[in-house]
Amino acid sequence: MALIRTPLGRARGMGASKHGVGHFVAQRVTAIALVLLVVWALAASLQMAHGDFDSAARWLASPVNAALAALLAFAAFWHMQLGMRTIIEDYIARTATKTVLLVGNVFICWLGGALTILAILKVALTSVAIST
């Protein structure tokens, strides 16, 4: 039976099979964004490392910092979902294990991204009261 199927038919469901371009482009675009955002975040963390709660909340109350932090979370969780997917697809051969890990990876990244961005927005939108 397997010999009747075309090479494309056999490849379907086993990998990218003509759907890899979106993954490739998204991986690169998020990578370029993350180069800039990570450098910004590292510089900011140097300034915040010895700060307390109030200084951190005041820092995140700035719209520029809040927007960049939210974008960092968005790009990072997207990028790591794509990267971990590649690693799972490369090293896990068993379909059941691979599927569970791929779905788990998607859930972790979406949940992590949603929680991080929501937390950032909460601080950004409520800390006016804290800073006064």
């Binding site: 490392a49 995140l60 991080t116 937390a119 909460k122």
Partner: protein, 139 residues
């Protein structure tokens, strides 16, 4: 003869699979590639720590205090040090990959040189980062 031509030959295998990978000679470009994936997996955890930072900040001063206490403890600092090494490496080597995507830097000699370069950048930048933290009195 007819039988031999009809028999299905074993499919060719990737060199990394043959002999359990033993036919690969160690090379810095190989190490750079493995380190990129290892650092990426480490940064997966790093992103979740970033999430905990935001969540604790959103939960109030008490939660934020507990968060900074944990990441400021000696084991927490070891994890953060490893993460800074990982982030500097993954970002530098990521830029190296972006140059490759543009078709630049594929000469074997260039690829080896840039592999050593990104490893050196990661180490130097990590030490510089923690030196600044130390001088700030944040450690």
């Amino acid at each position: 003869m007819a039988d031999a031509s009809r028999a299905i030959r074993p499919r060719p295998k990737s060199p990394s699979v043959q002999l359990g990978g033993a036919i690969w000679r160690w090379h810095v470009t190989m190490a750079a590639s493995i380190l990129h994936r290892l650092a990426g997996m480490g940064l997966y955890v790093g992103a979740l720590i970033f999430m905990l930072w935001a969540l604790s900040l959103a939960s109030g001063a008490g939660a934020y205090g507990r968060f900074t206490q944990i990441i400021g403890s000696p084991p927490g600092k070891v994890v953060l040090f490893a993460l800074t090494l990982g982030v500097f490496y993954h970002v530098s080597n990521g830029v190296r990959h972006l140059f490759w995507d543009a078709g630049v830097g594929f000469q074997p000699k260039t690829a080896s040189t840039t592999a050593w370069l990104v490893i050196a950048i990661a180490i130097v930048a990590t030490l510089a980062f923690w030196s600044v933290l130390f001088m700030e009195g944040a450690l």
